[in-house]
């Protein structure tokens, strides 16, 4: 794609994934030449509007206004890419989906009536079609750059398909689960971080969401035999990606 028009949009999120773009200090200036930045509110006050060849979308959809806006972005975009766990799976704030919105409003706001929130904080794909998903909390900067490299070359971007475990083995880490009985989401989490937490001697908490073909019931039984009860696993799964389809189904079946 020759100098594609780029839009970067924020919905309900922490800004961290957009920041990952600006954190690519070595490549940023070159990237700004290779693409035409049409809209990127965090970085520029020049707002040129659509249409966009590529739109990067950060954040979950959590207000009525955001529903309208994501439709507009979709309409203006050739390729829509969700960046990060919020846009891809609802993110940490989707934890509110497991409670009662009215009660949550009362817990945080003195006057809850003025607050407009959707009943649930949802992934972008619940509202519009998504062409690619870059996962993670935050996304991997390297993955983002490889994504751009592929699109600019006109080839299909390759994204990870295996679990954190694979990367952990490649790194030569001692397995925390087997050797230390430390609860770890590594076996059911998509790689992308380079097995960061196990390398730091702690269990994976699932930033990149479910890996392919996750079987949570089986994993839960396996863990139970090794001293980690279901409640502990459930609390771990009810984290950053609790509203990813595979995780959501397992939690719902249990509640």
């Amino acid at each position: 794609m020759a100098r594609p028009k780029l839009g970067v949009f924020k919905f309900s999120s922490c800004d961290g994934c957009q920041l990952s773009i600006l954190d690519a200090e070595d490549e940023l200036i070159a990237l700004a030449d290779l693409v035409e930045i049409r809209d990127f509110l965090e970085a520029t006050s020049a707002s040129k509007g659509g249409p966009y060849d590529i739109s990067l979308v950060e954040g979950s959809i959590s207000t009525p206004e955001e529903v309208e806006r994501i439709m507009e972005v979709r309409e203006e975009s050739g390729m829509l890419v969700t960046i990060g766990s919020c846009a891809t799976a609802g993110g940490l704030q989707a934890l509110r989906n497991w409670g009662k919105l009215e009660e949550f409003k009362r817990a945080v706001y003195p006057d809850p009536r003025a607050i407009k929130s959707l009943e649930k904080a949802l992934p972008v794909k619940e509202f519009v079609s998504v062409d690619y998903e870059l996962r993670g909390c935050p996304i991997s900067k390297e993955q983002l750059l490889q994504f751009f490299a592929a699109v600019l070359r006109g080839t299909r971007p390759r994204l990870p398909t295996n679990s954190v475990c694979m990367e952990c083995k490649r790194k030569g880490n001692v397995c925390l689960l087997v050797a230390g009985r430390v609860p770890c989401l590594g076996p059911i989490t998509m790689d992308g971080c380079g097995a960061l937490c196990p390398t730091y001697g702690r269990g994976c908490y699932g930033c990149f969401g479910p890996s392919d073909d996750v079987n949570l019931s089986s994993y839960s039984r396996w863990l139970e035999k090794r001293g980690t009860d279901k409640t502990t696993l459930k609390l771990l799964v009810k984290g950053i990606n609790s509203y990813a389809r595979e995780f959501r189904g397992w939690i719902e079946a249990d509640e």
Partner: protein, 440 residues
């Protein structure tokens, strides 16, 4: 009545998060200034209830991708304070270094990429690069060193994974730390030159008397912990924060904001810190500050960018010193036991004082959480500054009025993502910026 809306910025660019500024005038009188926040609520304080204290340390950083370490440190201070944990001094040094990495990254981002374009009359750092390539290149290098320091200690720049109750999970490679130290040493000169450069940029002036609030500790330029001190002379422990500062709902803007207990807005952040802890700046930072005439009590909010640049020098020099003194032969963490009660924690996020309070049961579960971020505290002050600025600049053309008022907002480097887990929202927005400035 001759009421008219003079500026409605629409979605503000080059700030973190989603907000807009509306200014309403009646002739020459400013009748209304609203910093509107339409960043959606994410209900953190609500869903933290029932979670284990260990999880809090990995959840709260997700409130803000620009200052995740600040959230982790304030939370750790609250929880460890409650449990009576004494963090080993080496682990404390690593926490300080991780935090300084965040300061360097965040300050460099704001000074050179978000604020500087205003002063050069360009829309962004990409256009600035075409005009001042060497400046932007060096600035990016400095920013990268902050990120590198975070990655060496925390595993990654955004939402690092190395912090835990009782200390840190793992010690960093000493060779990598030394490499960062050597690189920062050579970037210090640029950071000092940048202060001089920024002091020469043409900026509006706005003298006003305000209350500054910053942390103060027994030694050093307080950021990792400390007491809360006000320029009115009060010095309180974190547990008294909510007695000294209150949140109030203001009719016209429908939002909660912090005020002193006698109802005055106050300012936190780099300018407050430089004013309150000037005697504690590192030697080079003190030297450049004096050279450019930045001294307490500086009462012009447009000196904020300069204060931020002085803090960049301080953070670089302090990092070089701490890595030089760091001895890798340390205990990464100590054990702890749950204790029921309420913990209070403060630290200096890049944008100012960040307060956390957690009520915890005997099983280490959170019963209640309260978080007061810097931008919520600055919000009222931002509006006051714009209100004071308007009569001085109203005769300039619309574009200039809009630009100057946006600069008055950007002085505070507002982080709206941070502010909105409890701020009221006011939804007004358009997708495109074509129709941003409106004159009615």
């Amino acid at each position: 009545m001759n009421r008219r809306i003079i500026v409605d910025t629409g979605p503000l660019a080059r700030v973190e998060g989603e907000g807009s500024l509306l200014i309403e005038m009646d002739g020459k009188r400013v009748v209304n200034v609203q910093l509107k926040i339409f960043e959606p609520p994410r209900y953190y304080e609500a869903f933290l209830r029932g979670r284990k204290v260990e999880e809090v340390v990995d959840m709260v950083p997700r409130i803000c991708g620009i200052c995740p370490v600040a959230y982790q440190i304030s939370a750790l201070n609250a929880i460890e304070g409650l449990f009576g944990v004494e963090v080993p001094s080496g682990a404390k040094t690593l926490r300080a270094l991780l935090y300084l990495g965040e300061w360097i990254e965040s300050h460099a981002l704001h000074v050179f990429m978000l604020a500087a374009p205003d002063y050069f009359g360009v829309p962004d750092c990409f256009a600035l690069y075409r005009r001042e390539p060497e400046l932007v290149k060096q600035a990016l290098r400095l920013k990268q060193l902050g990120n590198r320091l975070m990655a060496v200690i925390g595993g990654r720049e955004v939402h690092p994974v190395s912090l835990r109750i009782g200390g840190v999970h793992k010690l960093p490679h000493e060779t990598s730390l030394k490499e960062v130290r050597a690189n920062l040493k050579s970037s210090l000169e640029f950071a000092m030159k940048a202060v001089a450069l920024i002091s020469r940029l043409e900026a509006p002036h706005l003298a006003r008397k305000v209350t500054y609030v910053a942390l103060r500790s027994d030694d050093g330029y307080a950021f990792l912990d400390g007491d809360v001190m006000t320029s009115d002379g009060a010095r309180i422990t974190p547990s008294r924060f909510e007695e000294e500062f209150v949140e109030r709902q203001v009719g016209y803007s429908n939002s909660l904001r912090s005020l002193t207990k006698d109802g005055r807005p106050y300012m936190v952040g780099p300018l407050a810190r430089v004013n309150m802890n000037f005697d504690r700046l590192s030697p080079s930072a003190a030297e450049v500050a004096e050279k450019v005439g930045l001294a307490p009590m500086e009462d012009d909010p447009f000196k904020s960018m300069l204060a931020r640049a002085v803090e960049l020098v301080h953070a670089c020099e302090e990092t070089v010193r701490l890595i030089g003194e760091y001895d890798g032969n340390i205990r990464p963490h100590v054990p702890y036991e749950y204790k029921e009660g309420t913990g209070y924690g403060v630290s200096e996020a890049p944008r100012g004082v960040l307060y956390h309070r957690y009520e915890v049961d005997r099983k280490g579960q959170v019963l209640q959480a309260k978080i007061v971020p810097p931008t919520a505290q600055n919000q009222m002050r931002i509006e006051e500054d714009v209100r004071l600025l308007m009569p001085k600049v109203i005769r300039a053309g619309t574009d200039r009025v809009r630009r100057l008022s946006e600069m008055a907002v950007r002085n505070y480097d507002p982080c709206i993502s941070c502010a909105t887990h409890f701020l009221k929202v006011n939804i007004v927005r358009r997708l495109r910026g074509d129709d941003r400035a409106r004159l009615q």
